[in-house]
Amino acid sequence: MKVTAKDVESVAILSRLELKETDMEKYTKHLNAFLEYADVMTSLNTDGVKPTDHVLPLQNVFREDVVKPSLDRELALSNAPQREDGYFKVPKILED
């Protein structure tokens, strides 16, 4: 096993996910399956193969530095659960 329940717990914390105790075993198994599959790929001989930097064969796609209209503020805020004076309003950020 590459991944322990402890790893899954810490990944869940980093991702702000709440996992039920009963699901731990399931997710640990899933994550292990991913990594084991990665092992299969690692076992291939890739000598002389250029690393893939991007899945598309494109590079240097830029835009000119020209201002485009922004969203109307009402529209920008329309999905916000809470708002105040044209701001997005968020709950407490740091614990005491």
């Binding site: 930097d53 590079q59 830029f62 020209v66 701001y87 309003k89």
Partner: protein
């Protein structure tokens, strides 16, 4: 116990572009909250960012000017963390293949030159602005977010831990600011947050090779703040180590009003940014030819300009440094000298009266009513002997207030220096007659008392007599 201070800086500089790094929203400072936002910078699902070409150009220019190697292949990555000023829950930044690496700048502190290495320069997006409902983040039940700044282009310039004192940290920051100003890639207005630094500091016993545990202070946006925060933090760590304690690796905030650093004491687990390649942005390829072309297009930079001022105008290293730190000031000096004024005199006036006035009114040289041309004209009046240096101060005051041409001021106020021997001779005779005691002293061998007599003549001529001539005439008469 004596310790060695080890400091590293991460300087964030907003770039002077019209639009954000990945979308066409304007970057205007001070716009009404959440009016420069769009689906891309708000991180709405399904949007596609596209790199602003000018951001890459500016980052490459900064890289070359800071003596870095420009990477032919560079890409963006996602840096994952949760904070409400970051709507996507990741910051688009660069991880393993930044645009520039392995640079350096030379700084000068107390006349000593030191090289500070630059680890890397990468491009990234700025985060939004939080307005807390309470006085601090911790005592606020809610906070408000303005995403106008989200997506404003930044370069982050990371130094090696080569800095050994608060003064060196300041000199390093000043040097980087100066280079960015010369390149005209950033507004560098620290009070608007265009330029800010995260500062890392640790102590180790003198002679130790291993680094001590460091503390970090984020978002310091004035030179004074950097120096003060570092000075405080060094003392704090010294006390802990002297007492046999251990430094906790943490982020501390600098409370500028109280002049202390405070622990953020977050209950967060250790940061793990889980960088991953940004699939929505394509790699940036820059050829050696393109890099060369950028290099050729760079303006004269502060170091080169300082050298030129020293060689061509015979200025001291210190004077040349002061004049070239700000590009505007160096341009002003060059313009004045081009107008035919004596370089050393111009330098003295810029660093003396002009700087004094600028500082006391908190103005930029570009806001000075005294133009380079007018300062040159005034200095030429001194060189020609039309006015004395003393009168020049009065003329300068007037120029500072009105922006008038010095010749006009001199004419209108009748400040032309009296070089007419006869007119001065009359005053000299009167002064000798009115001051028998100092005259006796001088004749009795006290050479110093002539100073008093010169002063009297100058006073009676309202400063307009040529001091050299006064001296000469007085001596001639007293020694006879």
């Amino acid at each position: 116990m004596s310790y060695e201070t080890v400091i590293g800086l991460e300087i964030h500089s907003e770039l002077k572009t019209n639009t954000k790094i990945f979308c066409g929203c304007a970057t205007t400072f001070g716009a009404e909250q959440n009016t420069n936002v769009c689906p891309v910078c708000l991180g709405l699902p399904g949007v596609l960012p596209v790199i602003n070409k000018r951001v890459v150009e500016f980052a490459i220019k900064a890289g070359i000017a800071l003596n870095c190697k420009i990477n032919n292949f560079s890409k963006f990555d996602r840096k994952n963390y949760y904070y409400p000023d970051l709507p996507k829950n990741f910051q688009t930044s660069q991880f393993d293949l930044p645009i520039a690496e392995f640079g350096y700048v030379d700084i000068e502190v107390d006349g000593k030159v030191k090289r500070i290495r630059i680890t890397r320069i990468h491009m990234e997006e700025d985060a939004g602005k939080l307005v807390h409902s309470g006085t601090t983040i911790k005592d606020s039940a809610t906070s408000n977010v303005d995403y106008n700044r989200t997506g404003v282009p930044l370069i982050e310039i990371v130094s090696e831990p080569d800095i050994s004192s608060p003064a060196e940290a300041r000199a390093y920051m000043e040097k980087v600011k100066s280079v960015l100003e010369y390149l005209d890639v950033s507004n560098c207005k620290m009070e608007e947050g265009n330029l800010r630094a995260d500062v890392n500091v640790s102590l180790r016993k003198v002679g130790a090779t291993e680094l001590g545990t460091k503390a970090e202070m984020k978002n310091l946006n004035s030179f004074k703040m950097i120096e003060n925060a570092l000075a405080y933090e060094i003392e704090r760590q010294e006390e802990i180590l002297d007492d046999g304690g251990h430094i906790v690796q943490e982020t501390r905030t600098w409370d500028d009003a109280k002049g202390i650093t405070l622990s953020m004491r977050t209950k967060e687990a250790a940061q793990d940014y889980r960088y991953l390649p940004e699939p929505d942005l394509l790699p940036i390829i820059t050829t050696d030819e393109e890099i060369e072309e950028y290099r050729r297009g760079l303006p004269e930079l502060p170091d080169a300009r300082k050298e030129r001022f020293m060689e061509k105008f015979d200025l001291s290293s210190y004077d040349a440094l002061v004049l070239t730190t700000s590009r505007q000031m160096a341009d002003y000096f060059d313009a004045a000298v081009r107008n035919g004024a004596d370089a050393k005199l111009v330098a003295n006036w810029i660093m003396g009266d002009l700087s004094k006035h600028l500082n006391s009114e908190n103005k930029d040289i570009s806001e000075s009513l005294v133009t380079a041309e007018n300062l040159a004209a005034m200095v030429t009046l001194i060189s020609k002997g039309t006015i004395s240096s003393k009168i020049a101060k009065t003329v300068f005051e007037q120029m500072w207030k009105t922006g008038d041409d010095p010749e006009k001021i001199v004419k209108e106020k009748g400040l032309v220096q009296i070089t007419d021997t006869k007119a001065i001779e009359e005053i000299v005779d009167a002064v000798i007659a009115a001051n028998p005691k100092p005259v006796e002293d001088y004749k009795g061998g006290n050479a110093k008392s002539i100073g008093f007599l010169v002063g009297q003549v100058m006073k009676q001529s309202k400063g307009k007599a040529n001091p050299g001539l006064v001296n000469e005439l007085l001596k001639g008469k007293l020694d006879a």
